[in-house]
């Protein structure tokens, strides 16, 4: 109890400094949580596009980005005919611009694609999809920002398309995207006869390993990955995740420097007190524990405040109309755990030098210190 009071005493004495340190950690944690959650959400949405009613993704081996992947139509036809495959849907991804909107994701799909079959049609008739080359279906948010309604003509890139339907989907990329017939997309993006990926649904999920072996044997330049495998290994996802953690880590580093500064000041202003504790039998370990305890309190309070701020910020972002569908506020428990642990480690790291300094204080000299 007294030990705890010794830890808290100094924090209470310098309330503003303590508050600033806690705020430093809190904003770092909030920044990390926000960046990581947004990027995890974006990755989740992108992988959600790929795994829509499918278990396996087939794409060109060793491509850095799926936009550069080319899967020949002949492969789509043959793979679709394999007995273990329920259906194989080719998807062509493309990025185009439209008036006032530099980036719109385009999906070249067939009428049989799950995105077309299973989406909620706000307007239009799904049976009419892919009957004409210049027909497109818009996601609800895309229709909103392009000010398009059913029957509108919309400028996409260098061409004008006719809107024959509007889809509602929870996925931000799809909701802000344009769906074209596969053949139109191939022509538009100059990728005749190929798609970016094939999404595969197997008749029996247990055949996944067999399917992957068959792909490897028959099409050595292609690779088949289960959804979870793809999420783990896709280089773009890994880069995004690493970037998110690096940005968050930098934030925490700044927070850690704040803690270090506070703890150094804390030790400097209580040199005499530390000497008194020494004279009364406190060991190096007890002195260090006191300093680490102080920084742990700052870190824990900062971490919880940061989680609160971060969560509120994510909810606010989700309310921004322009970001609708892009922000997934479902914070993963593992992210929470990592963020809190990192905040604690940062606090401990920030207290390392002050603790060593405190341990080296010589009572006999410090007692003369005014």
């Amino acid at each position: 109890m007294i030990f705890l009071k010794l830890i808290l005493t100094n924090l209470r004495r310098h309330r503003i400094r303590t508050f600033i340190s806690i705020a430093g950690i809190a904003f770092s944690v909030a920044a990390m949580l926000t960046v990581v959650t947004i990027l995890q959400g974006a990755i989740g949405m992108f992988s959600g596009i790929l795994s829509s009613d499918s278990e396996i993704i087939v794409f060109e081996r060793n491509v850095s980005d799926l936009f550069f992947s080319n899967v020949p139509a002949v492969a789509v036809a043959e793979i679709g005919s394999w007995p273990i495959v329920a259906h194989a849907d080719p998807v062509l991804f493309g990025i185009v611009s439209s008036a006032d909107h530099p980036i719109i994701t385009c999906f070249g799909v067939t009428a049989a694609d799950a995105r077309i079959r299973k989406a909620t049609w706000v307007a239009g008739d799904r049976a009419k999809f892919a009957q004409h080359a210049d027909d497109v279906v818009l996601g609800e948010r895309a229709a909103e920002f392009m000010s398009a309604t059913l029957g509108s003509q919309v400028q996409i890139g260098h061409a004008v398309f006719h809107v024959i339907g509007i889809l509602k989907t929870a996925n931000g990329f799809e909701d802000g995207g344009v769906f074209m017939p596969l053949s139109s997309a191939q022509s538009f993006f100059h990728k005749e006869g190929s798609s970016s990926v094939i999404t595969i649904k197997l008749r029996n999920k247990d055949d996944a390993a067999t399917f992957k072996s068959m792909i490897k044997a028959k099409y050595p330049n292609l690779i088949g990955l289960e959804d979870a495998e793809f999420n783990r290994s896709y280089s773009q996802f890994r880069i995004l995740k690493a970037t998110a953690w690096a940005v968050g880590g930098c934030g925490l580093l700044l927070g850690g420097l704040g803690v270090a500064n506070t703890m150094i000041m804390s030790v400097f202003t209580r040199i005499r007190e530390i000497a008194i504790l020494r004279v009364n039998g406190f060991s190096n370990t007890q002195i260090a524990a006191m300093i680490f305890g102080e920084s742990a309190v700052v870190s824990v309070l900062g971490a919880f405040a940061g989680l609160l701020i971060g969560t509120c910020f994510l909810f606010l972002l989700k309310l921004v109309p322009a970001l609708h569908g892009y922000i997934d506020v479902a914070i993963q428990p593992v992210v929470l755990l990592i963020v809190v642990v990192l905040a604690l480690l940062t606090g401990i790291a920030g207290a390392l030098y002050p603790a060593v300094y405190a341990m080296r204080i010589r009572a006999v000299e410090a007692l003369r210190f005014e």
Partner: protein, 235 residues
Amino acid sequence: MMITAQVSSKKRIVLRAENVWKSYDDGAIAVLKGVTFEVAEGQTIALCGPSGCGKSTLLHLFGGLDSPDRGRVSVNSVEINGQRNMLRLLRHEIGFVFQLHNLIPDLTLQENCLIPAVAAGTDRRTALMRLEQLAERTGLSHRLGQRIQKLSGGERQRTALCRALMNKPKILLADEPTGSLDERSSGAVFDLLLETVATEGVTLVMATHDRGLAARCDQVLEMHDGRIREPEFIG
């Protein structure tokens, strides 16, 4: 020259300094110049002398807070060397009282007194029983929950005495324990100090400028220029 208390030669020697030298600033300021003396168990010793003659330094060496450049310092026949020795000394064998009370202002009287018990890992119940005993003896029982700022100078020094005796040390090192008090409080605190060390059977070594108080100790050792002179008198 070996200076030993003559009160009872049969008593065990608890503090011993043998040819102790100590200087600061890389030898520029020589504080102790070959001090040799012994203190027997239960004695009360006053170290007198002008400021800077080495009284406090000698106390610090006995308490393990500093180490000599040359010579040996031993407590209960064990030479003081290193951190482990120092911890054992400070936790169980030696108590310190300083001129300034050196209490932690944000803690209450009780919490300040319990610090040595926390350091030594004494269980709370035992520590509280011990504190109750000391507080009663020093007349602080009614002030246990008070913060230090609300205590008078005398009460603060009595609190420091309680804290020093918390872990039942057998040796009390007091550096000008009444130096910051007025004459009346000074006398009262010193009376209490002598009474308490007598009751607890504690050996007292005290640095002081106050010849009147020093005269009430068993022995007065006069220090001058880093050396101890012949005993002035033996009580």
